[in-house]
Every structure is written in structure tokens, then in C-alpha cells.
Symmetry: D2
Subunit: 258 residues, 4 copies
């Protein structure tokens, strides 16, 4: 397979640093690579090593993980370790209709969109225009715009969708939207909120327990890299101490526990 004009490609340099660019005519500046003329890569085979600037690099077709790893960021994003758990615990699959409250920079949006494609849809609400714009930019760069609809609206005033498969929230007061979430979900549909603070988790869970939801639980996921050296293996010294707690629940019509 060869690089063609218009392709989205991933460049990985000899330090492991990664860049996602679109193959266009003419020179462009890429932060970390300098000024490059991506047109020159056309006709190269994917997977081969070539010199870019003074570095040896390899060019690969861009994957959805690459788009997330190389996202243009405005705010703190939901990291792959957590979006993976959201998709798994909410059973999100191809064809699903998923509402996201809080588009942010679109990192979770990409992960959701590639999961519901080709027949599903992500509807992503944000009340801030600047967030919608950056999320839209990132979604378009990833070529996933067919699967995402952005809505510049405060979801606290209600959401338009009914009978959705899942609703995922990354907002400061998720407990305020538990009513709205319940109303929009299909029976058996999944609620998830992402919250950095314990107090947010507590309020959300207590609100969820007032409504007909089952399988209400909260997960924290920690991830650590293992480093394989010539002389042996050890965990990485670098580890992120915390991102957010994930609160899950599933809609029913009546409460099981009274």
C-alpha cells in the first residue's frame, strides 16, 4: 500500500514521537517535525523508513488511536484508558445511538464515533462554542464527521433524543442531568458520568438511586507501563495518579431494591 494525495498518515519518529498529518500539496509546518513537504511522501510504501528533517521516521496509515493520541487539545481530555472502560461497560457497539454531554476536545467523541460506525450516531452536546469547534476540527481530521452531530446547547435544558442506547457525561454537575438521562434512555440503556472528584460521584450515585436504575457502580482505573530493559523489567516511574471516576447505571422502569 502506498501513500496517496489526501491520505491521513501517521509519522512516528525514532524517539517514538507521533504526528498525524494530511498529505497535501505544498510545504506546511508541523510542530515537532519542522517545515515538511508532505507531497514528497506520495508513492512511498507505508511501513518503510524515510528521513524527515534529520530523523528516521516510519509512515503508517492513521488509526483511530493515532487521532486520539495526536489530538489538538483545549481542555483536559478523557484518556484512552478511561474511554475504553466507558465503551466496554456501556456495551457500546456498531449501530448504537449515543448522546455525549460535554464535547470537550472530542477525544471521547472519536472513540465513540469509531465504535458506533458505520450505522450508528453520536450526538454531542456542549454549551461552549469554542469546545464544539475544536471537537469538530478533531472529528473531521479523523474522518468521522458522518457519525457525529454536534449541538451547541446546554443539556440541562433538555435533550432532543429519545430511546438512546447510552448517555455519557463529562460535566461538572452530572447529578443535575440524571432525570433528563433517564427520560432519554431506552430500557436497559446505559448511563455513564466521568468525574474527577469524590463529591461529584457521591451526588450522582445518590441521585441515580432515587430513580429506576440498576447496576449502579463506580470504577477507578489505574494504568502503569512496564519497561523492558536489557538487564531486566520494572514498572515505569511515570504514572498518572488520577484522571476521573466512572459512574455507571442502567435504566429500568421500576426500582429493584426498595
Amino acid at each position: 500500500m502506498k501513500v496517496k494525495l489526501g491520505n491521513n498518515v501517521t509519522i512516528i519518529d525514532d524517539k517514538g514521537k507521533k504526528f498525524v498529518i494530511n498529505i497535501t500539496k505544498g510545504a506546511k509546518k508541523v510542530k515537532g517535525l519542522g517545515i515538511i513537504n508532505s507531497e514528497e511522501f506520495i508513492g512511498n510504501r507505508y511501513g518503510e523508513v524515510l528521513e524527515i528533517g534529520n530523523k528516521k521516521c516510519v509512515i503508517l496509515p492513521a488509526s483511530s488511536k493515532d487521532y486520539i493520541d495526536c489530538l489538538k487539545r483545549k481542555a483536559q481530555i478523557i484518556l484512552p484508558k478511561d474511554s475504553a472502560q466507558i465503551i466496554m461497560n456501556c456495551s457500546i457497539k456498531s449501530g448504537d445511538k449515543v448522546v455525549e454531554i460535554g464535547s470537550g476536545s472530542g477525544a471521547l467523541t472519536i472513540a465513540l464515533a469509531k465504535t458506533v460506525a458505520p450505522n450508528g450516531k453520536v450526538i454531542s452536546y456542549d454549551k461552549r462554542k469554542d469546545f464544539i469547534e475544536i471537537a469538530q476540527y478533531n472529528i473531521e481530521k479523523a474522518g468521522l464527521e458522518k457519525y457525529v452531530e454536534f449541538k451547541l446547547k446546554d443539556a440541562k435544558n433538555g435533550i432532543d433524543e429519545k430511546n438512546i442506547d447510552s448517555i455519557i457525561m463529562d460535566i461538572p454537575e452530572p447529578w443535575e442531568l440524571v432525570d433528563i438521562a433517564w427520560g432519554s434512555l431506552k430500557i436497559g440503556g446505559y448511563f455513564c458520568s466521568y468525574s474527577p472528584l469524590i463529591s461529584q460521584v457521591e451526588k450522582t450515585v445518590k441521585k441515580l438511586r432515587e430513580h429506576p436504575f440498576v447496576e449502579v457502580y463506580v470504577l477507578e482505573t489505574l494504568q502503569r507501563e512496564m519497561i523492558v530493559l536489557e538487564k531486566g523489567v520494572r514498572p515505569s516511574f511515570n504514572m498518572l495518579g488520577h484522571t476521573g471516576y466512572l459512574t455507571f447505571a442502567r435504566k429500568t422502569l421500576a426500582k429493584v431494591r426498595v
Copy 2:
């Protein structure tokens, strides 16, 4: 939405215990529920509470997570926390062709199959007939048999597929299949092995480094539940100390680092 004959349903009791059953005519024994006549549920609305045995239960349409949670097990399975990371870090998506080496009880197979559906395929190798049989049973119960092909073969003797998007291994000696994996993957395709022991990780990473692979890294994922009590919140006392390390890599044509 109402329960119909032939539906796969999830029953959740008032202790949070979960059962996946098929709605059939006649009585059947379900471990933990006793003898039930599932026919009686026909016509009930999903999400409503009904009494089964002496317990209040709710009936929901079965989700892919339910199938995994209620799997018939023969060996230790790859848990959702880890299969979520595999799918995310290998960028697996709808339409992908994925090879799994080591079907086990089919827990990861279900997660992979629901991700590649409706146009993709999982090809799952195992050299033990009893594992293939239980995995097949679980896949069929989950209604995902269209997306999975089982092969009763020792993958060490080679695999038939070429140009695959990802290859995932849950076998004792993944390093012995690095050659075969490289040969079968498309450029930019993902390798993943799941291994409980550090020595397995070490051997696999060293073998991967001899081949043209980039983005070689190893992750350990720990997950802990948070418990919301009336008087406050605390982490769960129960926590699984270890499952397996995940080793990832991505195929290129030449090595970037010399």
C-alpha cells in the same frame, strides 16, 4: 418493548446478581434462580419488576456486557477491564479482520465480535477442542456467530489469514508467534499479547524488537470500585491484585530504531 419468545434476556435480582437466559417454552433450571418457566415472562415490558422465585427481579434485553458477565467458563477469562484496553489500544473497529490465538472460553471473542460487527470478522484459533466448544457455545448464546470463525489448529504451525488488522494472543508462549504475527498483519496492524508473567512479557518484547515493529509497549491495568455509603465514600476492600500484562506493537516494514 415487550419480552417475546426466543429473546435473550438479562434478569437482575434484588442482590444485583445477573442471569442471561433465552425465553423458551417449558420449565428450565437456572443456577441461582431455581426452576423457572421463562414462557411466563412473555408479554411483560422490559424494565419492569417481577417476582421470580421469591426475589424481586428486573428483566432487560441482554447486552454484550451481560453475555461476558454471565459467561459459561472453563478457564480463566480475559476480563472486561483488559479486553477494553485491547480493543482501544489496537484501534479495533467495525469492519476489522481480527485473529485471536487462544479462544479460551470466548470472553474476549465476544468483545471483539461485537466490535467488528456487522462487516468485520474474528478468526479464533485454539488447539483444544474443549475450549473451542465452550467458546462457540458462548458466542452462539450471544448471537454473534456470524462474526466469528473458529479454527481447531495450533497456530504455531502457521495461520491462514493475511493482511489482518490485529492479532491478539492469550497463549503461554506468545514470543514463538511473533514471526507468524508479523507475516499475517497488514502494515500498521496491531499485535497484542496477554500474559500473567513478567518473563513472558520480557521474552515477547525482546522478540518484537528483533522485528520491524513500532509502538512496542506494555500496560498493566488496575481497577478498583468505589463504594458510596450513606455516611460517605470509600474504595472497595475487594480488589483483584493482578490479571495479565498487555504487550502491544504495530507492524512496519523496517525498524526505526537501529
Copy 3:
């Protein structure tokens, strides 16, 4: 060194199970060992293997860790992983005067007492007679009674000591004793509270911040065993998900941050 009448000895069996007993005349029943006549061990060399019941066992002089590991328990104890952090972060040393609020079963009391010996003192308050009794039993078994004074009193009504080096609390409402703690500590002395719930931590820290304390911080310590097998190494599957948070602070005369 040989076993003598009156010695406290640690017996470790071939499964690694540990028992602390006193060498006395006559038969006694030890849970897990059956009926033994400890007099028979007299004259044996410490460290030698002997048969007790049908098990091969080794006899060692009892250490303070043995006393803690083999404690008679009434309530949940503060585990060695946490008492180690308390002693380190409160800089507790030989000669210190330390107040403990909440004797519990005396596990922390043993660790404190062996640290302040031979010239220091632990004063341990509990409002429940049954706890004092069991703690006293355990302290006497460990031969540390010279270094501990128990007080059957509710510390909320005040404590008698002044100018103490450290005060350690394992009670449900540590924030209610922040005033009393400040009043009793010497300048630069250490406050520590052990709390399972986040809400307890939050209230205690907020109360500490109203008083002249510096170095206010909260630690959670997780510990996991590594298992060395013939075929390789892995973390233990067994791991305690949570014990308690440790809140530390240090007395000053005026607040540094305004």
C-alpha cells in the same frame, strides 16, 4: 540460643502459618496446631525444625512483627503497612511520648510501644472497656506493658497529657478532637488520623486548616505481594483494595498560609 521456660516463641509451620505461644508447663490448646505440650520444646535450639502435630515447624524468638501478625482481634486492626507509615511520617522514635486515641485491639499500640521503648511511653485512650481489655492482653503478651498506659476515657472530654510528641487517632470523628490534639501537642509535634472514608478525611483536613498546623497532607498506601514461581514472577492475585487514609499535620503557633 535455646528455648527456655517462659519464653515467647514463634512457631512457623510448613505452610507458612505462624503462631506465637508462651513456653509453659503442661498441655495447652493452640488453634491451628491442636493440643501441644510446649514444655517439650525446652532445650531445643531456636531455628531448628521439629515436628509438632504432624507438621514440620521451626521455632524462633517472637518479634514485634510476630505479635502483630498473631494478634487476638476484636475489631478491624491498623495493618503493619499503615502503622509503618504512621511511625515514619510522625517521626516517632525511642523516648517519645505518644497519645493514641482508640486502642482497638492494640495492633498499632504494639508498633508504637516497641518504637518508643525503652524510655518513651504510649498513652492509649479508649471509651470501650472491652477494647482496652483486649489491647492490654495483646500488649502484655508482647511484653510491652512497661511502655503503655491505657485510659478508659472518652478523649472527646479532654486528655490529660501536655507537650506530647505525637497524637494518633483511629476513631470515627477525628475532626472533633483537632482542638484537643492541638492543645496537647508540643510545637512541631505530629497529628495523625486513620480514616476509611473520604468524608472523614475531608472534615478532618478542613478542621486542621482552621488551626495553626503545617504539613497537612493525606496518604493512601497500597501494597501488593510479588509471587516468584519456578516459571516466572507475577503480582499476587490477592490484594487488599483499601484500609484507611492517613491524615498528617504538625503543630505550629500561627498559620503560615493566610
Copy 4:
């Protein structure tokens, strides 16, 4: 209590930064505080706030934890979270004779010395003169020189002490000293090695199992700070992913498991 000439004092500034200095005549430069005339602090009450440079600071009597926190470092030190576990799991107490192999910068040496004081002794070996010098500097600054004897020797050639209570190693090949350790320990005495790599742990444990040792186990300790904000509580984003594994064992005369 007032500051006097010759005192070791801890200065904590309004950002929580900490400095240990000796009160001397004349100006001196302290990194982070600038040029200060410590003589001026004489007569101030400990615990009061005073202005140093342009910062509000509090002065406290220096504790052993302060000496460790403010150590002059040459190499990576053993952190308090780990030295706490060493002292606890080796049952180290006042009066003990402890051998340390690998003085490093003396961080563990301080923790050991303050534990064995006033009647015990730490004998600390290092084959590098520069390490002994810096460790000696730090021990003297902490006023613990009475309790420590440094030996500029490669312990692989043997150690002089017999019948010691504990031996603690922070060296690259602890397995090479298992014989020597066994020979020097008293019956029931404790062995501990600190190792960053799994391969070091594996070799050490396998060597220990060839000798008469019981209670052979390996611990990893993770510590995370909890942050109490006005709006709620969350774990710290900063967390050290790894320091070292601690391998423990205890000397007997014969092996219990055959």
C-alpha cells in the same frame, strides 16, 4: 521553647517548601531561601511565623523526617514509604544491631539510626568513598553519628559482624550476599533487599530458598496523596509509578519446606 545557637531547625515557607539549617553566627546561603543570617532567629519561639526573605515562614525543631526530606543527595535514595516498610517488616527496634549494605546518600541510614537509638547500632557498608562521605555528612547533620559506623568496604568480601538483628541491602546484586547475610544474622534475624528490577527479585528469592530462611516474601508499596479542595476531594495527579521491590526473609537453621 526558643531557638538557640547551634540548634538544628526546620524552616517551612508559605508554599510548604522545607529547609533544615543549623543556627550559626554569620550569614550563609541556603538554596531556595537566599542569603540568611540565622543568628537573627535566636530567641524566637518555635512555631511562630517570621519573615525570611520575602516569605512568611515557620520555624520548628528539626525531626528525623525533616532530615530525610531535606537530604543532600548523590544517588537515588530509598524513600520514606519504603524505609517505613523495611523497619516494620524487619521488626527493627531500639537496641538492635543492623547492618546496611549500600550507604547511598544515607536516607535509609537516618531512618535506621533513629530507630535503633539510643542503645543500638547501624553498621553501614559502601565500597564507594564518595557515597560514604555524603552519607556521613547527612548522618552528622541529623546528629545521629553516635549510632552509625561506616565501613568503606565491598561487602562481597565478607562482613565483620555476627549475630546481627537485621541486614538490609540496596545493591545491584543482593543474591550474591545471601550466604554472607545468613552467616551474620542471628537466628530469627531479618534479611531485606531493595531492588528496582524484577530480575533482581527473582534471583534473590531463588537464592534465599536454597538456604534456611523462612517468611520469604516480596512487597511492592504504592502511595498516593489525596487532595482536599474547597469543592471536594480527589487523588493527586502526581504519583510515583515505581521505586523498588522489597524482598524479606528470616534466618533459621534448617529449611522448613523440603
